[in-house]
Subunit: 196 residues, 2 copies
DNA sequence: GTCTATACGATGATAGAC
DNA sequence: GTCTATCATCGTATAGAC
């Protein structure tokens, strides 16, 4: 990625996050980069191409982050705890990108939409497999895997909507709260331990 | 509300839900009503006025629904269970309106934005008081009231994003799943009973 | 790679007849 | 209350010079 392409992407992330995709114009992005709006089209084929690029890279980085973190963790409860922590951390540490990725899907044409949704489904399946395995092993209570995976993911994703960096709680404190809340919900009484 | 004003509102709800506020044009709404776009402006001062009207009425109905349902319920756990059930039911049964109310806040000017946010805060406070009371009574585990109230509300609100009427699960089944999940998360081990 | 200039369409909103 | 006609503006995107 060239320096200017990177500058444009960063400016677009800031503006899409602050004003929304539709409300942000190409000329605003250009102004934020100190170039003319026509110059954007040298780097991106269209405004939607720019949005798609942001979403695609974010989803790829998110899935990669989770996969790498789960590699060496054993035991279903520890794996789920780690997964929740990763999900929350990534969403709060990349608040703008993840906010865009989860709220601007309607800005995509069908072809691009399907590709991002496929990446999201692939990510969600990691959580669904964790829930299913935990249920089989009796660590988690029997449940509707799909509904609970949506619940867990949207719960943590929502953090990216209200989180204010430098606020009352740190990312790790919020992650810990969610982690305990979710594990308790999944166990529904099968309590063995709570993390420190 | 006149018949035509009602027709316009319903058409706008359908379109804002399906395509989003920015992507929906006044002429589309007019076409769906079988009138000319200029006629819309006899009933609403502007496109934003139409959006604000939808959001305002939805928030008022939501809060009223919760308040009426809590009136005769005693005991903190039962009150929280009822509150969660109401929240989920209202969001799934008024899926389009609640989706709009929680995703199109950016379409409002500052004045209108503040008014809707104030209504939302008032609604959230009902949940925050329930959590705080439950914690004081030792029914729920000590926790961060604000974070958990956001968690509970966004968790259930998210249902309005993926729910498909006539799908695999009924509204009441989904509400029951959320209810047990949330109560377990709030208790974190203080298990007394699970609802049937 | 970035610029100036412009094509072209769509939008929200208003004026005034009926 | 609804219509036709129109305004003013702004949007994305392209052409072609440098």
């Amino acid at each position: 990625m060239t320096a200017m392409k990177n500058t444009i992407t960063k400016a677009a992330i800031d503006l899409f996050f602050k004003k929304g995709y539709y409300a942000t114009s190409i000329s605003e992005i250009a102004r934020a980069c100190g170039i003319q709006k026509a110059s954007i089209y040298y780097h991106f084929a269209s405004k939607e191409d720019l949005l798609f690029s942001i979403m695609h890279d974010t989803m790829a980085a998110l899935t990669d982050y989770l996969r790498r973190n789960l590699e060496k963790v054993n035991g279903i409860e520890e794996r789920m705890r780690r997964a929740v922590r990763c999900h929350v951390r990534f969403h709060l540490e990349h608040q703008k990108e993840t906010f865009i990725a989860s709220s601007e899907l309607r800005g995509l044409c069908n072809r691009n939409y399907l590709q991002i949704v496929a990446m999201r489904d692939e990510y969600e399946e990691i959580f669904q497999e964790l829930i299913a395995a935990g249920t089989r092993q009796g660590v988690f209570a029997p449940c509707d895997v799909k509904i609970l995976s949506y619940a867990i993911l949207t719960l943590c994703t929502a953090g990216a909507f209200w989180f204010k960096p430098g606020g009352r709680l740190t990312v790790d404190e919020i992650a810990a709260i969610y982690e305990n809340f979710i594990i308790s919900g999944l166990k529904q009484g099968r309590i063995e331990r709570l993390s420190a």
